[in-house]
Symmetry: C2
Subunit: 351 residues, 2 copies
């Protein structure tokens, strides 16, 4: 059997650590290096940062070019950021060394939606160095786009699509709670939306464009709305307390228009402890067309755990992909990788 | 813009006609010919067989080689049969002329499961003539396999998979009702299972193998069971009457084993008028793993309408595919084709 698939992980936060731990369990895959942006993590053994009870013999680096040259990865998983502008520098460095990339940066799920200039530059660079780049995750990347697209596959015609994802923010940390406005007054929430500190979900534009591109629809505009979810009850997590009248989360929606008509509606209310007001979490997709399609599940597919798995499962698909930027809609469907990963790869491994 | 994609349809039954009518509505596609096995259809204008109010100027042929040579299709859709042995001769003829194929034959969804010899021969022939072959449909091809596989993509590990499809046979014709044992006594049903006249669903073995192959699982065996659905009420359709104590349909299940354990359970009870006993139709997928996944929808995705759409929507995927036999799990996800089909194709069109 050939050498194992050599994987570099960028990011040692919750997502990067979860991905790295999962890679350690996968047959045919070798975690060759961890990169952290935070300088204080450099020099620490990866086993410690991953919460293992033993050292891994892998020292965390914050010198990306050096670690690539030393460890010769076949592919890198980037879990360091959300925006394409923030992701681009690391992706450039990886591509210049011929390393393919899977990024959890939400805007990389459909890169041209946020910046066609950067997307085009990365696409050309990837082609030049025979590497492929994919952005993915549970959302964007799966529930509100890939799964929607797959279901449209049984339709002869479509009038409109709506998809919603109701989740529970309770397990999340300070930065997520802050960007969703949890614990604010309704006024402070609206102020936060205005000044950009309350962000809501990053990825609606990417999901809508991915769906439209797959169907052959041209979108005229996408309207996003961020509304406070005002609690009527006391809600509490270890990190935040919300009293009645305060904000429990952000109800973020996006509506995409085509020929003057709303054709794609994406709905993603995120809050702590929705069950306290009788709200069940879940994912739901409805297509009005020929035929009508409706599929749903409760609770929602877990975001953190699901993203780690999806990213790892896409490794062989990206190694087999044509050079350049790609999307979930252009690759074969993901599948849980439960056998030897090498059996699935017929391209782009280091000799 | 380049020439339209030239499509030949084999089969003028319910499925072939539905596919042909849909092709007529699609931009960038030209229905160039219809082939019928039934000699009595030869020479009739396609418009009549498709139930249109005008002639199409396309004469139905039952000489496959001749119609290929005359009409030079880029791709053919085969809707003439269910079994690989029955499908193979037409597929061979198409491949020898360099024509790619999408087949609704259930056994073509994962051809090696029914005959690795024929599958290998067709694969080599397709490669030799630079053509691709896909078998697909709602089931097998989508609900109990592709959709299951896509959902496993967000799992790090999987213990077991179960999927069910409860549908209503009321709209179907005599041949389907007969092969499902509708209207028989329970004894006659069991006799029919024994002598092969009661078939149940064709496709479980294909779905189970497609799932296993995607996950990297080796299956030890697949056990199928066909049980009569004995009605407790009077049920009636224009074609058949079922009294209490008689058979309303076939409850067909398949269980696939790996390492001594049941890992894939597929359940497909088919009967007329299930609602008369309070049974709701629907599709449902449950994955026990990390994480658990559950998704369901009611009513079921319609089999006939959905298969016609899916087959047409896969045309660009198959024209872009690598030469040889392929499966739904190896191609990009299907998507409703609502724009010009030519925009999606970058391979294998006749010059």
């Amino acid at each position: 059997m050939s050498e194992k698939i050599r994987v570099l992980v960028l990011g040692t936060g919750k997502m990067g650590s979860g991905i790295a731990r999962l890679l350690l369990q996968k047959e045919g895959i070798e975690l060759v290096a961890l990169f952290a942006r935070r300088a204080e993590r450099a020099g620490i053994d990866a086993g410690r940062v991953l919460g293992l009870d033993h050292e891994l013999g892998i020292t965390i680096s914050n010198e990306l070019s050096t670690v690539i040259a030393q460890c010769r990865p076949d592919i890198a998983i980037q879990a360091t950021c959300s925006l394409i502008e923030d992701a681009a520098a690391e992706i450039r460095t990886l591509l210049q060394h011929g390393v393919s990339v899977i990024s959890t940066a939400e805007e990389m799920a459909f890169p041209a939606a946020a910046s066609s200039v950067v997307a085009d530059e990365l696409h050309q660079l990837a082609i030049k160095h025979n590497a492929a780049v994919l952005g993915t995750g549970i959302n964007p990347g799966f529930v509100l786009d890939l799964l929607v697209i797959a279901l449209t596959g049984v339709c002869a015609d479509i009038r409109s699509i709506s998809a919603s994802r109701i989740n529970d923010l309770s397990p999340y940390g300070h930065s997520v709670l802050t960007t969703q406005g949890v614990g604010l007054s309704p006024n402070a929430f609206r102020q936060g939306v205005a000044d950009g500190s309350v962000v809501g979900h990053v990825g609606f534009v990417q999901s809508a464009h991915m769906i439209a591109a797959a169907l052959g629809w041209e979108l005229e505009r996408i309207e996003e709305k961020r509304e406070p979810i005002i609690s009527t009850v006391h809600r509490e997590t270890p990190l935040v307390t919300v009293e009645p009248g305060q904000v429990a989360g952000c109800h973020h929606t996006a509506v995409a228009y085509r020929q003057g008509r709303a054709v794609i509606t994406l709905d993603h209310p995120q809050q702590i402890q929705p069950q306290l007001e009788g709200v069940a979490t879940g994912d739901s997709i409805t297509i009005e067309g020929s035929p009508d399609i409706h599929l749903s599940g409760s609770p929602e597919i877990p975001g953190g755990e699901g993203t780690c798995a999806l990213v790892v499962n896409m490794i062989p698909r990206v190694l087999n992909a044509a050079p350049g930027l790609t999307t979930m809609a252009e690759l074969p469907v993901p599948a849980a990788m439960l056998g030897d990963a090498r059996m699935l790869v017929h391209g782009r491994l280091k000799p």
